[in-house]
């Protein structure tokens, strides 16, 4: 198992380097940020001083070298260490993503199992319809609808506020918005995988021996259907992080998505780089965790 983990860790290094290189090249292609850092009336000398201050006068390989050493430097706009800005926002996004994942997994697995338990029933059709709607709705639109209904019309929840991003009542709408989108996917996949597992010979054997339907579903079908579901949950967790960009903007959450969105509009290259790096690390870590979980769920994969 240790060799497996070490091998996967080594494989992630070139991926990370590739991401840094691609981000660096794309940001350089977007032009010189000096124009936004100085007055429109600044002289060539003033522009040069600013370029020196932010290291923009250094050769490209030196600038790239700094990022490869994970030295993200100062934000052009906030003049604060990028690591500090990114980490502050990451806490907000982590809270949001974790909450959304709990909603998605709990609702998705339950709905999927009930649909598989009673296939082609009214609940199954309703769940399928709800799932189609769920995967089709853009996050920011769903957030606006929920705000309109629960905050403006009914007044049950407060309107989005950036000043209290850690309080439960302010988290309900963004967490539900983000969670519902993944719920649909997990529910449909759980249903499909479980129905497929139910056609296997060992399930038929268990049924022949007189096992109860519930025990068969939870004890035999679900554990064996879990491998693809865990994959989707893993990739979805990373997807939730990036999906948070729109949800955070629509619900005023001061998370990583908002920080990157603002940094892009202000062409704050170090912050964009910091945010992308953090996203990349999370994606890699989640993929690694999923691979390890595979090994635990299906020992055949570990030995392959």
């Amino acid at each position: 198992m240790l060799t497996f983990v070490l091998r996967r860790l080594l494989q992630t290094l070139p991926v990370l380097l590739g991401i840094i290189l691609i981000c660096f090249v794309l940001l350089r292609l977007s032009g010189d940020p000096t124009n936004l850092l100085v007055s429109p009336h600044a002289s060539a000398q003033e522009r040069q001083l600013v370029r020196e201050r932010f290291g923009l006068d250094r050769p490209w390989y030196e600038q790239l070298g700094r990022y490869l050493r994970f030295d993200l430097g100062l934000s052009y706009q906030q003049q604060r260490p990028v690591a500090q800005i990114v980490m502050e926002a990451a806490v907000v996004t982590a809270r949001l993503t974790l909450g959304a994942m709990i909603v998605a997994v709990a609702l998705g697995l339950t709905a999927g199992m009930v649909s598989a338990y009673r296939p082609n029933s009214a609940f199954d059709y309703a769940a399928a319809a709800a799932a189609s709607v769920g995967v089709s709705i853009p996050a920011f639109w769903l957030a606006m609808l929920l705000i309109l209904l629960f905050s403006v019309k009914l007044g049950w929840l407060p309107l989005p506020s950036a000043s209290a991003p850690g309080e439960l009542q302010y988290l309900v709408i963004p967490v539900v918005t983000l969670g519902l989108i993944s719920t649909a996917l997990i529910a449909r996949l759980t249903r499909g995988c479980m129905l497929e597992t139910l056609t296997q010979d060992y399930v038929r054997t268990a049924q022949a021996k007189g096992i109860g339907r519930m025990k068969m579903l939870l004890g035999h079908a679900l554990p064996n259907a879990l491998v693809p579901i865990v994959t989707v949950i893993g990739t979805n967790l990373a997807g939730l992080l990036t999906g948070a960009v729109l949800t955070e903007t629509a619900t005023s959450m001061p998370g990583l998505g908002r920080v990157i969105y603002t940094a892009i509009s202000q062409r704050d290259h170090p912050v964009i780089m910091g945010g992308c790096l953090l996203f990349a690390v999370v994606f890699i870590a989640v993929n690694l965790a999923v691979d390890i979980l595979y090994g635990l769920l299906d020992p055949r994969i570990r030995h392959a």
Binding site: I147, P160, V259, Q266, L297
Partner: protein, 550 residues
């Protein structure tokens, strides 16, 4: 079965972590305190006066800092940290400021003349300042900018409460420029302290304004508290809370629920709100003209100025463009009545604005005739002009209407949007023949439009983006710049403006009116709004006099 239990346990653990991550923050103000609450669309780029180039930062900085002089709502200069607005001394081109005694910084220390010198020399340091141009007329400023000296010769501390500024020549715009927030007075020790703690002054601003800085949580909020020792008298409000709310609809919803004292009005909702809740709408004209810029000239290989492109060399075509645009429709229908048609370069409300000076009005028949006179009857043979603009939903609506108007007379334009930084770079370095732009006055003086945007010395990036060049105009502008006679200056600027309107290097579009929503219980704020106030942050309002009667 064990795997199912493992999943349930994992979910329970995640749920526990989630609940542990929840936090309840103590409020920045007690229940009995009433802060004035502003929404922000995003974090301001800076709270350091010498770095302010945008309206949002300016709005907050003006609450924390004070300047020696400032403008009142009638756009008349009033004393701020100075006891009086100083008179110009022609003998040595100087101004002598008598400073108020007993003015305290937020750190408790008394402000003295040495602080003004330090603040202005910092404003002249290109490694920290983005606004060095404000003090370029000061004697010795150029040497300091070029780092030939450590101190500026023209900034002189006479005694603790007397500060003398010597200029290189007469400058009628020196006082208007130092009324900008960038010339605010700051304490050196606060800058040093921020540097020592590896932070920045922008993160820990200390000034002499009516409110002192308490906290800035990036992308969330900025908290200011009342400064009881404010030289203008103890402010009536307990504090000011700025909260970042990127969604315009959420800002409006929260305002209507009474969670903000003021807000902007989202596009598409202006007419409805003005109809349903007129008592909440506040209106003030802004010193802003939006226009289409036409590239007039370029420099050839030898550096000689020659006409650029078809539009730059054909006055009839430029006039046809000016006659083809239905400005009234643009302002009423497209901009929902937030603007009025621009009749001249100087917006109404700007000192020196002459209402008798009127540019071209909408006349499609005349536009067609001018087009024929230019050699392109019904637009036949005329190439399509690319029209560049900043990528922005509202600007897109405006340029689409313009495209339709021009097409109706036979002029085709291709719309090309660019992100703001790239757009500016294009206009500065590789100017297109036609581009959409706007200019907001930095200070209320016609030179801020007429000289900054049309003098040959301002070629390109410094302001003359249309590369207009006329030696006669330059001579007149130089004469106005060197004169302290306001009447002569304004007459000269009017003369130049008349010539500019004839030459048509701008297609005038609209003068923007600043509409915001203000709660009815706010007293003393909208009454102070001036044409310098753009947006909902009430930048130039003296907030020490504002109160809430809830």
């Amino acid at each position: 079965m064990n795997r199912v239990i493992a999943i349930v346990v994992a979910l329970a653990v995640f749920a526990a972590i989630f609940f542990l991550m929840l936090s309840h923050e103590s409020s920045d103000f007690t229940a009995s305190e009433k802060p004035f609450r502003f929404p922000l669309t995003q974090d301001p780029p800076t709270l350091d006066p010498v770095m302010v180039t945008d309206v949002d930062s300016d709005g907050i900085v003006q609450k924390i800092f004070s300047t020696l002089v400032h403008y009142n709502k009638e756009l008349v200069l009033e004393p701020g940290l100075a006891e009086a607005v100083p008179e110009w001394t022609p003998a040595d081109n100087s101004y002598t400021f008598k400073l108020r005694k007993g003015v305290k910084f937020h750190n408790g220390r008394e402000m003295k003349a040495a602080d003004v010198k330090y603040s202005w020399e910092r404003l002249l340091s290109p490694d920290v300042s983005k606004r060095t141009e404000i003090l370029t007329e000061v004697k010795g400023a150029q040497e300091l900018l070029e780092r030939k000296t450590q101190a500026c010769e023209g900034l002189q501390v006479v005694d603790d409460y007397t500060f003398k500024v010597t200029l290189t020549g007469p400058s009628p715009t020196f006082l208007p420029k130092i009324a900008m927030c960038c010339a605010a007075v700051i304490p050196k020790e606060a800058v040093d302290q921020a540097d020592q703690s590896r932070s920045t002054f922008s993160q820990h601003p200390v000034g002499t304004g009516p409110f002192r800085f308490v906290a800035w949580q990036s992308n969330r909020k900025i908290v200011l508290r009342r400064f009881d020792d404010y030289y203008g008298g103890k402010p009536k409000l307990d504090g000011i809370l700025y909260e970042v709310v990127p969604e315009s609809q959420t800002r409006l919803d929260r305002f209507l629920k009474g969670e903000f004292e003021v807000t902007d009005i989202p596009f598409g909702q202006f007419k409805r709100i003005r109809g349903e809740k007129p008592e909440l709408v506040s209106e003030n004209p802004a010193l802003r003209t939006n226009y289409l810029g036409i590239l007039m000239n370029k420099k050839d290989e030898k550096g000689k100025i020659v006409p650029a492109g078809l539009l730059g060399s054909n006055a009839n075509l430029r006039q046809a463009l000016n006659c083809a645009i239905n400005r009234a429709y643009l302002c009423d229908a497209i901009l929902e009545g937030r603007s009025v048609p621009a009749l001249s370069i100087l917006p109404h409300g700007m000192p020196g604005h002459d209402p008798k000076l009127v540019g071209w009005s909408y006349n499609p028949e005349k536009a067609k005739a001018l087009l024929a006179e230019a050699g392109y009857p019904e637009g036949k043979g005329l190439p399509a002009f690319p029209l560049y603009y900043r990528k922005d939903n509202d600007i897109e609506k405006v340029v689409l209407a313009i495209q339709n108007d021009l097409k109706a007379v036979g002029i085709n334009v291709e719309l090309r949007s660019l992100e703001w930084g790239t757009f500016l770079k294009k206009v500065y370095n590789d100017p297109p023949e036609l581009f959409y732009m706007g200019w907001v006055a930095d200070f209320p003086d016609p030179c801020n439009f007429i000289e900054w945007l049309f003098h040959t010395n301002q070629w390109g990036e410094p302001g003359n983006e249309t590369r207009y060049s006329d030696p006669e105009v330059d001579k007149l502008l130089d004469a106005a710049k060197a004169s302290m006679d306001q009447k002569f200056r304004f007459e000269t600027y009017n003369k130049v403006e008349k010539k500019l309107l004839e030459d048509c290097n701008w297609v005038l579009l609209e003068w923007r009116v600043n509409y915001i929503l203000v709660q009815p219980y706010v007293k003393g704020a909208k009454e102070q709004l001036s044409p310098l106030d753009v947006g909902p942050l009430m930048n130039n309002v003296d907030f020490s006099k504002v109160e809430m009667t809830r």
